[in-house]
Symmetry: C2
Subunit: 130 residues, 2 copies
Amino acid sequence: MAPSSSPGTPAASAIRRHPQPPDLPEPLPEPAVSELRLEAVLAALSDPLRLHIVRALLLDSDAFDHSCSWFALDRPKSSLTHHFRALREAGVTRQRQYGLERRSQVRIDDLEARFPGLLALVADWTPTEE
Amino acid sequence: MAPSSSPGTPAASAIRRHPQPPDLPEPLPEPAVSELRLEAVLAALSDPLRLHIVRALLLDSDAFDHSCSWFALDRPKSSLTHHFRALREAGVTRQRQYGLERRSQVRIDDLEARFPGLLALVADWTPTEE
């Protein structure tokens, strides 16, 4: 039985938030809050690697946003670029360009406003044993 | 701004439940509650037609389960068969064979137990204007 994941349970309250640093680069193109579509967000989250990325950002982030190297994922860079872009284009994450690298954060407030409880389900997700 | 969809709000409380009739056919093969996978459920729900089907069952059902003709969907029968099977195989719906027709219901209790709040998001979903 998976742990409960309604708002207020441990998984949801374990979601980390970091204060916004000054002088950030502008976000890359993304849908506005009003443009977020449930079907697009669910499609972005229906991939185990992308669930892993979002869950890691929610529970383990130690900075405002993180580059793809932070996740230590054993995948080709082109594949990772695709997955990080898919998350941004669906509105799950916000990406900013810092020189040569892009860093991602989860749009926690935007997703909670539109799809309350969804991120708690992601935080509670456990990968299958391979 | 979409309406709020946390448990207890109107959309969630509008989910209809119908008592189980006696002498039902056995369910077709489906994952057990413990086998439900978030990524598979989200993938099944990431399609607008499937979201429409699940939302209609949640909010408009007037019987325990419904055959695909009840939805009055303007799609080829082979396409509908595919979508209803995808929902069952992901564990979103339960299907039973009544003679020549299959009827579907949403596994409300199983999904609420494993992914609380997810069905409220589906109930609150609004299709894009085409």
